[in-house]
């Protein structure tokens, strides 16, 4: 009953590119965390320059989706897949940008390693990266147990980010000499929080591909 469709090779190509994009972004996150932990400015610069590759991939995926929409008029699960590929691509591109934004703030922090550790920015960054490795698996396998895991973990990470933020703000009020550094750390913390949100978006998109239900804006538990 199964037919070969010209369409399938286009879908495979798309899926391949999305997974590639995921792996690239994953590597960026791994590197940026390593750069924070080891104050490796060279590595931070590599992260910044690698972003161009991700941006190119982003454009390629957008174009491929456009082409499939125009030429194949996808329906049902095909339609859901392509809509999601577009969204996921967008989310990945944003995560990539945020990895770069974090990387840009590593140099000014190199003399304040103690503060970074005190607020647990390296730890939250690590957790965000581990969360993202689940995103990679989810995108590869479409196994929704990863989606559930991601959504739950993300909630915890976001709460932690909020805690960190209020601790940083407290510190800023009491020790005016660290304000500039603390603000920098606050921004990084915020970027990890954003990356976590984008990871949740991706989990939602894959859930939509698999069962056609929009889980966005629903409370996860």
């Amino acid at each position: 009953m199964e037919n070969y469709r010209i369409f399938d090779s286009e879908l495979e190509k798309l899926s391949h590119k999305v997974i590639q994009m995921c792996s690239q972004v994953n590597q960026q996150l791994i590197d940026v965390i390593k750069a924070i932990k080891t104050s490796d400015i060279a590595l931070a610069r590599t992260v910044i320059s690698n972003d161009e590759f991700i941006n190119n991939l982003d454009v390629k995926i957008d174009k491929l989706c456009q082409k499939i929409f125009a030429l194949q008029q996808p329906v049902a699960s095909d339609l859901r897949y392509i809509i999601s590929a577009l969204k996921i691509n967008n989310d990945l591109e944003r995560i990539g940008d945020h990895a770069v934004n974090v990387a840009k703030r590593i140099e000014p922090l190199q003399d304040y390693k103690q503060l970074v550790e005190e607020f647990g920015i390296d730890v939250i960054g690590e957790k965000t990266t581990i969360l993202f490795s689940d995103v990679v698996e989810l995108v590869k396998t479409h196994d929704l147990t990863y989606a559930v895991k991601i959504m739950n973990k993300a909630e915890a990470i976001k709460e932690e980010c909020e805690d960190i933020a209020s601790r940083i703000l407290g510190e800023m009020m009491h020790q005016s000499e660290v304000v500039v550094v603390a603000a920098n750390i606050l921004i990084i913390n915020n970027l990890f929080e954003r990356i976590t949100s984008y990871s949740t978006n991706i989990a939602e998109s894959i859930s939509f591909v698999v069962n056609g239900e929009i889980v966005k804006h629903k409370k996860h538990n």
Partner: protein, 252 residues
């Protein structure tokens, strides 16, 4: 409120003992467009024809179950089939105008229904041609032969001919399959307009057409109604794997 104009209950149809429709139960709402889709030979045309008893004309056909239109079983013994077909009009895949004038093609039905007043006939013809969105193209040559019209115009003429007898339901069997994209677009636009006043049931092999113009879609396979739902649902997230495989072109 949505009124079920047509509904069938446990309908079976056999051609010389061979089952072609297997236990079809469906409710078709009034003043909506309902599309029938499915692979060739799955029974779409057979089912469509059974809604105005066109299958009665075929030897060896046996029908079981109920086909109810406006709460009346159309297979009851005392049903007047001519009246039924007036109420339930049909448009075929290949336009089949008579080798007569455009005017005569449309006036034919009302005439055999006993309308003879010239003024009244002219009015009916004009309205039918307007409703079929072809009036502007033919109003200056009503006396010309219908055979001189293009395929797309002939098809709209046939729709006008169907509308001229004032039906409530219009059955269409692949009405645009032989037409170019522009004529197809005109027919589709027309169908969407017609649903204001008529209940439309359309068979189509064109998935995009079903998606564009219908409110509900029924997917048939091997004589069975596999899935029937709002068109939006069928084309975004069908429940059945067979439906999914068919509309995405994985089989058929």
């Amino acid at each position: 409120m949505i009124v079920d104009k047509i509904y069938t209950e446990n309908m079976f149809l056999y051609y010389s003992g061979k089952m072609a429709l297997n236990d079809i139960s469906i409710k078709i709402p009034e003043k909506k467009v309902t599309a029938f889709i499915g692979p060739s030979g799955c029974g779409k045309s057979t089912f469509l024809r059974s809604l105005n008893r066109m299958n009665d004309l075929i030897d060896g056909v046996k029908i079981e179950g109920n086909v109810i239109i406006d709460n009346i079983n159309i297979y009851d013994k005392n049903i007047d089939v001519v009246n039924l077909r007036k109420k339930v009009g049909m448009v075929f895949q290949k336009s089949n105008p008579f080798a007569k004038s455009i005017y005569e093609n449309v006036a034919y039905g009302p005439k055999i229904n006993g309308i003879s007043d010239k003024k009244q006939l002219e009015e009916i013809v004009e309205n039918a041609l307007k409703n079929a969105a072809i009036w502007d193209e033919v109003k200056d040559r009503l006396g010309d032969s219908a055979m001189g019209l293009s395929g797309g115009q002939q098809q709209r003429l046939c729709i006008a001919r169907t509308l001229a007898v004032n039906p409530e339901i219009v059955l269409m069997d692949e009405p645009a399959s032989a037409l170019d994209p522009l004529s197809t677009a005109k027919i589709e636009e027309l169908i969407v307009q017609l649903k204001e006043n008529y209940t439309i049931v359309i068979v189509t092999h064109n998935m995009q057409q079903a998606a564009r113009i219908s409110d509900n879609t029924a997917f048939f396979y091997l004589g069975e109604l596999i899935e029937y739902d709002r068109t939006k649902k069928i084309f975004t997230n069908p429940d059945k794997k067979q439906t999914e495989d068919y509309i995405t072109g994985r089989f058929g």
